[in-house]
């Protein structure tokens, strides 16, 4: 079968990094360790595992960071090579209780998938994203499908999945909607695990897939008082407003917008540039994960406020003096598991299915490419905002030219 395979190849990894630094994100793929190969399908590791044939598989920010050679060395022990990327997957199940059905993959490879019994405390509590054993057990290390040598990944014609990872897709949900469930679950977890109090002022930095889904999740599950979104591109701005942002501003305007929202004073340079707010907003969701966005978050979070890193950060140099002096809480929001809701504990994926359907998040899928055109697909994903797009996916349903969802509908 065909698969995009990411090898451990340090020279090509360095070349990818250089290319992405020189020419921009997405340009590392041509010289990097990713190759389209003819490979054998992965074997089923153990009982309880089934085959999954992807229909659509998304390209996410962490994939791009990997292809660009920008991902943190922190992950070195949490992946195994060679791996097939792709963890945002809707596909057809072959075998097991869901045989013949469509399913969305919950890609975290926690204790149950790894055959670890008893499970770690996090998995026992349903919080798979916080699994302590992702480098252990019967599988090669891999924090998720798409980073593990034993499972394959979504950017291929087939992979293996533990039955506990699969969520059946309702008939009414299109493939485009279903492929949005995984990124939406990340946003749902970010919103629900840090649920802002009623009336809280919230800023969401970034309006790519994660940012837009976070806006939708906050509006759907948390009802913050006022939600300001920073979005760079016109399509993103329109979607941010449609999904529930009260105000959408350019990234360069967000500090001033946060100041207006909080009604606070600001400290300015001699040239009048606002350096940071005296007070600020209650919660900042940083869906960018860059040093600049973290610095901006620190400039606008009020003393005692929260900064939630939703976008995957890397090695970052940032002045933490304001974090210390203002007692700001900085926390991450990774993956998913179970969320405490007023009606009781619910699976993050269950909530994500609900949100995808109600907010019509299939509209975020902007273009689909066959595996053979992976370089174009990656370039498109890296420039998605600029090109008026949001989520770029691989279409494994047939070998064809790239199609937009509307073309697909026709």
């Amino acid at each position: 079968m065909k698969a995009l395979v990411f090898e451990r190849n340090l020279p090509r990894f360095a070349a990818a990094r250089l290319a992405s630094v020189v020419a921009g994100s997405g340009h590392g793929v041509g010289v990097g360790p990713l190759e389209l190969l003819e490979v054998d399908p992965p074997s089923l590791p153990a009982p309880g595992w089934v085959r999954l044939e992807p229909r659509l598989a998304g390209i996410c920010g962490s994939d791009l960071a990997t292809l660009d050679g920008r991902s943190s060395r922190y992950f070195e022990h949490l992946v195994s090579f060679p791996f097939v990327p792709g963890h945002e997957i809707v596909g057809d199940v072959k075998g097991g209780r869901l045989d013949g059905r469509r399913a969305v993959l919950e890609p975290v490879l926690g204790c149950e998938a790894r055959g670890i019994d008893p499970p770690c405390p996090a998995c026992a509590g349903g919080h798979k994203g916080a699994c302590e054993r992702i480098a252990f057990g019967s599988l090669a290390p891999g924090l998720q499908t798409g980073y593990c040598a034993d499972t394959g990944g979504g950017w291929s014609a087939g992979l293996v999945a533990h039955e506990s990872q699969l969520h059946e897709v309702p008939e009414a949900l299109s493939d485009e909607a279903a492929v949005m469930v995984e990124p939406t679950a990340c946003a749902v977890h970010a919103a629900c695990s840090t649920e802002p109090p009623s009336g809280a002022s919230v800023v969401v930095l970034g309006a790519g897939t994660l940012g837009l889904c976070t806006i939708a999740a906050l509006r759907h599950f948390c009802l913050p008082g006022t939600l300001v979104a920073a979005a760079k591109h016109p399509t993103q701005r329109q979607l941010a407003a449609d999904l529930g942002a009260d105000q959408v501003v350019e990234p360069g305007e967000v500090v001033r917008a946060a100041r207006r929202l909080s009604g606070t004073l600001a400290l300015v340079s001699d040239a009048g540039r606002i350096e940071r707010l005296a007070g600020g907003v209650d919660i900042v969701y940083d869906c960018v994960g860059s040093p600049e966005s973290l610095e901006q978050s620190l400039a606008i979070a009020h003393p005692g406020g929260d900064i939630v890193l939703v976008g995957m950060p890397g090695v970052t140099r940032v002045d933490l003096a304001p974090l210390w002096q203002r007692e700001v809480r900085l926390r991450g929001a990774y993956a998913y598991g179970a969320e405490a809701r007023p009606e009781g504990t619910r699976s993050t994926f269950e909530l994500a299915f609900e949100l995808v359907a109600s907010a019509r998040l299939e509209r975020l899928v902007s273009a689909a490419y066959p595996l053979e055109r992976y370089e174009e697909a990656v370039a498109h994903a890296a420039a998605a905002g600029r090109r008026g797009s949001v989520k770029i996916v691989f279409d494994l349903r047939r070998k064809s030219r790239s199609r937009t969802p509307s073309e697909e509908a026709e």
Partner: protein, 529 residues
């Protein structure tokens, strides 16, 4: 030879191209045959001895007022308020007329043994002046005598301890003024009346007031009913200020008003071609134009801005009158009209105007998009008596680069107004009802207004309201050569060239419109029959 009066030129095939300002630059445009170009009267002759004229005015006041020297006595509390950085435009060469007048007043005060004297820059909600700006306006002698002792202050409309509420007018308008000015035995107000809008009761009632007072006449309703605010008897802005003036007088505030008029000699000799009629340009004028305009094309905008803002106008004093407010102001208006009136027959379908680099609110600063709108639709559109130059439903075409740029020290709330308010709505009444109070009471803007050099938080609203009459009157506003995004944010239409703009205007006014160009400088006031 006496200066020639204003003139309306009808463009024909032999008419040379017309000069259009474009911010920190200018160019020549060929207007269609049949267009009219309005030129203001040539600058009036200067008073031969301005200091003597000032002393004479102080000794021979108008209206029901005694000579200034008889109003001064030892032990009294004297306050001298003066117009701020917004006047004149461009700032005038030294000595500034405020310096001349204030020195004369201080000489009389010294003769009378008055030792409790405070000078107040009548900022209203404008930014504070820097020491250099104050020194330029008042002269080194006055500045050094007062500033180090805390006797030269700038009106602070947000200092409750130094404001006093005088009550309400018959129309329920609050009058809250500077406490020192109100509680003085005599308040001398020193005006520069560059245009007909300036002076009269507006000087004290606006220049020394708080937001609580100002909001009664700086609002959409009032501005729409000021037709124009250069025509005091048809201006609700002035009617309201006059009501406040009456209340101020009834409260016992004794005002000695000094008003001065300047001629329209706007630029120094090397730039004088800018105020000459193009067909009268000499070879030297043409050479200056081409050299200057070409050099400016290659000059970075910030440098060009610095160069232009360093220009000092050779304005000369043409009259000075002092005494009782109404009598003084009536005489002042006669003198302003003598300098600026141009009779014009009938309105026009399209009014064109070239907007220069400066307006009252960006001296030594950036002309941001809101100020571009205000200069064109607030000030230039309102340079009329009788009827607007452009007919109802007509089109205004302005040329200006309209950069999406702001001075964050001077105009912090303008940035937010542009980013937040105008991105949501440009509708005057919605802007006013939904956002004004929040901006006016924002503690950060208040802090910057009081301690830095920032215009008050509400000021961009006022500049927007300044456009209210024009925007209600015309169908379309086009800016030639402006930043397209900024122009659209204002709700106007961008055009690359004047020809494109005229083509766009034809959608509204047809293929054969009448066109009138407002040529400034020199400043003029169209008396539209």
């Amino acid at each position: 030879m006496s200066p020639r009066p204003g003139f309306v030129l009808e463009v024909d095939r032999s008419t040379p191209q017309t000069l259009f300002w474009r911010g920190e630059g200018f160019g020549l445009e060929r207007l269609p045959a049949g267009s009219r170009v309005l030129y203001g009267p040539e600058p009036l002759a200067a008073l031969r001895d301005p200091d003597a004229a000032i002393r004479h005015a102080l000794d021979h006041p108008l209206g029901d007022s005694a000579p200034l020297r008889s109003l001064l006595h030892a032990g009294m509390k004297l306050t001298i308020a003066f117009d701020d950085i917004s006047l004149p435009l461009p700032p005038m060469k030294s000595p500034d007329v405020r310096q001349r007048v204030i020195e004369a007043v201080l000489d009389l005060a010294a003769e009378a043994g008055v030792d409790d004297v405070v000078l107040i820059a009548a900022l209203a909600l404008h930014r504070r002046m820097t020491d250099d700006e104050l020194r330029h306006a008042l002269g080194t002698r006055v500045f050094d005598a007062f500033a180090p002792h805390g006797l030269l202050v700038q009106h602070d409309a947000e200092d409750p301890a130094n404001l006093v509420d005088l009550g309400q007018t018959d129309e329920g308008e609050d009058v809250e003024l500077n406490k020192r000015a109100v509680e003085s035995d005599l308040l001398v107000y020193v005006n520069i009346n560059l245009v007909a809008m300036d002076g009269g009761h507006k000087s004290v009632a606006t220049g020394l007031a708080s937001y609580k007072s100002l909001k009664h006449h700086h609002n959409v309703r009032t501005m729409r009913a000021s037709k124009s605010f250069m025509d005091r008897h048809h201006s609700q802005l002035h009617t309201s200020n006059w009501r406040m003036g009456k209340l101020i007088a009834e409260a016992g505030v004794k005002i000695f008003q000094i008003e001065t008029t300047l001629n329209t000699d706007t630029f120094p000799p090397e730039m004088r071609f800018l105020q000459r009629r193009e067909w009268e340009w000499t070879a030297r004028d043409r050479a200056s134009f081409f050299a200057t305009s070409k050099a400016l094309e290659r000059t970075p905008p910030e440098l060009a801005r610095r160069i232009f803002h360093s220009v000092k106008a050779p304005h000369d004093l043409t009259s000075v009158q002092a005494g009782e407010v109404d009598a003084v102001h009536d005489r002042t208006l006669e003198n302003v009209f003598r300098q600026q009136i141009v009779p014009v027959e009938g309105q026009t379908d399209i009014l064109t105007m070239g907007l220069p680099y400066i307006c009252p609110y960006n001296v030594n600063s950036i002309m941001n998009p809101i100020l571009v709108a205000c200069l064109g639709l607030g000030y230039f559109f309102n340079l009329y008596r009788g009827r607007p130059l452009v007919r109802e439903g007509g089109v205004v075409i302005m040329s200006h680069p309209t950069p999406w740029a702001f001075n964050p020290v001077h105009h912090p709330s303008y940035i937010d107004f542009f980013e937040q308010v105008l991105s949501e709505t440009t509708d005057m009444l919605e802007v006013e009802s939904k956002y004004e109070t929040a901006f006016a009471t924002d503690p950060w803007y208040i802090h910057l207004y009081r301690t830095s050099y920032a215009y008050h938080g509400v000021h961009p609203f006022y500049m927007w309201y300044w456009c209210a009459h024009a925007l209600e009157h015309v169908s379309k506003v086009i800016i030639v050569g402006g930043d397209r995004a900024a122009v659209r944010r204002l709700g106007f239409s961008p055009a690359s060239t004047l020809a494109d703009a005229l083509e766009m205007a034809s959608d509204v006014v047809g293929r054969d419109p009448s066109i009138t160009h407002l040529h400034t400088p020199p400043l003029l006031l169209a008396d539209v029959q």
